[in-house]
């Protein structure tokens, strides 16, 4: 029993998020019973699944940044720039889909490296660097595209198959896009749990002084994290092209950074570093995805979406604070007990 109790206390955040998701389905069921009926449910699940890939992929990268007490506001613009470069290759140079993907990931990683160099080696606070590069990359996207968008038929064939085809699981079609993002989540779960680099991310986030003392190269780790986030932007760029069927300098990746930051915070990644799990982030994305889809399906006017996002972020912060204070009260009681024994 003790083992189970310890498992629950350690992942209380994840359970709270899961509870939120079930709550929403419950509320929706009460408001619009037909939403949960057989056919409709498959549709709802499908749109939640389709909403998740882009945000989950980026949330994995944002999680690593937040664990290291950083922030990256430039991911939306980075996605747009990587997508546009690949788009121009498709449109003007007839590049194949795979060549496009490679180029997009390369461009994304390069932008990530610029962020990483300025933050890790020149020690400029992440909010300033990514604030600057956000505008710079978005501006660059417009410049290289001369305002023109890359439309659906200019994309190589098969781009949209990632959304159309997929794996059939119990009647519901899981598009390839979702499979890829879940695979990425698994890869990141393994990286963060089993590789040196993964644990060093937690170490540097938890206590940079102690990490340095143990010989961890904090700068290299931080640089690598921002580069990986950049590469993820490249992948998300191609996902966006496949999902929406076009690449537009002003729409692609617009507002992505705030949705992803919200999903990461809701997913229980602590803002003072050192804490955060892939499962939590996955649940955070599912929660926001459910909110999005439920609003459309239950017929609540779309105008409520922004408000609900904000409310969920603030609630997640409060839950995080309550968990923290309960934990520190327990620790204080323990210490006092220790000293009491002395008298």
């Amino acid at each position: 029993m003790k083992e189970a109790r310890r498992f629950v206390t350690q992942n209380v955040k994840e359970f709270v998020t899961l509870a939120f998701i079930l709550l929403i389905y419950l509320v929706a069921g009460v408001l619009r019973p037909e939403v949960l009926s057989g056919g409709r449910m498959a549709g709802v699940v499908n749109s939640v699944l389709l909403w998740t890939p882009l945000n989950l992929t980026m949330a994995l990268g944002m999680m690593m940044v937040v664990i290291m007490r950083g922030i990256d506001l430039s991911i939306g613009s980075n996605v747009a720039l990587s997508a546009m470069v690949a788009g121009i290759l498709f449109r003007d140079h007839g590049a194949s889909l795979w060549q496009g993907i490679v180029v997009a990931v390369a461009v994304g990683a390069a932008c990530g490296m610029i962020n990483g160099f300025l933050i890790a080696y020149l020690r400029i606070p992440p909010i300033i660097v990514t604030l600057g590069t956000m505008n710079a990359y978005r501006g660059l996207t417009f410049i290289i595209s001369q305002g023109k968008q890359v439309t659906g038929y200019e994309l190589p064939p098969g781009t949209t198959d990632f959304v159309a085809e997929g794996v059939r699981l119990g009647g519901v079609l899981i598009p390839w896009l979702v499979v890829i993002s879940l695979l990425l989540a698994l890869v990141f779960y393994l990286i963060l749990k089993y590789t040196h680099f993964g644990r060093e991310v937690y170490a540097v986030g938890s206590n940079r002084e102690a990490a340095y003392l143990r010989g961890i190269n904090c700068k290299k780790t931080e640089f690598l994290v921002f580069t990986i986030v950049g590469a993820l932007c490249g992948i998300t760029a191609m996902m966006s092209a496949s999902r929406f069927g076009y690449i537009n300098p002003s729409n692609t990746g617009k507002g992505l950074e705030f949705v992803v930051i919200s999903a990461t915070i809701i997913g229980g990644v602590s803002v003072n570093g050192g804490k955060g799990t892939v499962v939590g982030v996955l649940l955070g994305c599912l929660l926001l995805g459910t909110v999005n889809t439920m609003i459309a399906n239950v017929g609540i006017p779309g105008t409520v979406q922004l408000f609900t996002y904000g409310l969920i972020i603030v609630t997640a912060l409060l839950v995080d604070r309550i968990v923290l204070s309960l934990d520190s009260k327990r620790r204080m009681a323990q210490q006092v007990a220790g000293k009491e024994a002395l008298r």
């Binding site: 350690q10 089993y194 590789t195 040196h196 644990r199 060093e200 937690y202 170490a203 938890s206 206590n207 002084e209 102690a210 990490a211 340095y212 003392l213 143990r214 010989g215 961890i216 602590s270 050192g274 804490k275 934990d327 327990r330 620790r331 204080m332 323990q334 210490q335 006092v336 220790g338 000293k339 009491e340 024994a341 002395l342 008298r343």
Partner: protein, 505 residues
Amino acid sequence: MVKDAPVVQAKGISKSFSGVFVLKHVDFDIRPGEVHALVGENGAGKSTLMKIISGVYQPTEGQLLLDGKPVRFRDPHHAREAGIALIHQEPLTFQDLNVAENLYLGHTRSNGKPVINWRELHKKTDELLNSLNVRIRSRDSVRGMSIADQQMVEIACALSQNARVIIMDEPTAALSHGEVKTLFKTISRLKEQGKAIVFIGHRLEEIMQIADRLTVLRDGERVSERMVGEITQDDIVRMMVGRSFKELIVKENVPGDVLALETRNLTYPGKYYDVSLKLHKGEIVGMSGLVGAGRSEFASAVFGVEPAQSGEIWVKGEKVRIHNPVDAMRHGIAMVSEDRSRTGLLTAFSIRFNMTFAILKRVASRAGFIRRKAEAPLVQQYTDYLSVRMRDPEQTVKELSGGNQQKVFIAKWLLTESDILILDEPTRGIDIGAKMEIYRLISDLAKQGKAVLMISSELPEILQLSDRVYVMCEGHVTAELTRQDMTSEKIMAAASTIQGRSAGE
């Protein structure tokens, strides 16, 4: 223990910070299978010496020898790789990771494989923890652990990097006596395994119990190095204290009998219990005790930063309620806190900014604007009174020496013209010359009728300056001595025993 070749030798080590020599030509040998204790008053240079040996600082003069060969450590990690590990007073651990990770992160790369093999690491960690017979398990997360357990984690981490020398800086300060016993068992086990242990501590009976060899430092110089068996605690105290201050400190204050401050059974479970003391106008009352005895916590309760959970505070004969520093200041209480850079001064701002920061209401007009004309003379008056050496009041505090910074810090609180002054380690980490001036200032303030409560870990200060002294140990007031029957032995004894039971047992 057989006397084989020392692992680490410090030869003629000197170290100066902005001109002030903290260490002068110190020799120090660390031999495998031996616990070498290092004692001395605060500011005698103990931790500076250890920081040099463990690569945190570079020596100004002198050399470090590792197995006889000269060596220079670039940084603490370089020293760790050479087998020298420093265990800090507040352990440096990853709160959110488990014990195995705290141990092996950073140097797990050495096994070449990119993936960490957790099963094997947890097994190795549990083996190591069992060898230290500690009840922590490898999978526990560090967040909930007591200081003692976290210390064990740091020691285990040092061992996992097969350290040959383990330096412990005041390890027993925050431990209960049960935890101290387990620590000593671990140390003796490490000794048998041939590790070299350096133990920095205050509690002499602990040192007599655990150490084989003992070096006494005073004012940055090595006074003596003897085997523990050959000397008694009194010899150590005499060596530690040594110089007498009689002719240096001019004490002219005459303690009055008007009660300025009285506390009755102030209690904060876990920090201090039933502390009752009296402080009269014109009197200097000392508060002595070891690190972690709860003196600073008590002071911050009187000053309202962290109010006590029960008990009463009386100022000038009537009961007062102090919830925050503003209440305290309203009742004429001021506190020169312990760590001036962390909780005292705003080093990035000018001397003028810092000095008038606690009395903004007085130098500001009704509308809140600072009247430079009112500010300048006050700053001038107090910098002259304390003879602060500075170019001009616009200079940032960072540019001043430690002694001058402390003077600015004290001036800041003198400006509040409070008549009850709490000084927490007023002379820590400053040169002898500045210390003398501050002693003269304290006795001068008492002469003017202020009531001074001086918390200090330096016995000579307490002995020379205070009219009465309260000694605290583990949160309890264990002795109240008047000036006549005040001796360092009595204070030391009271500081390390609680109602007849030695802190060490």
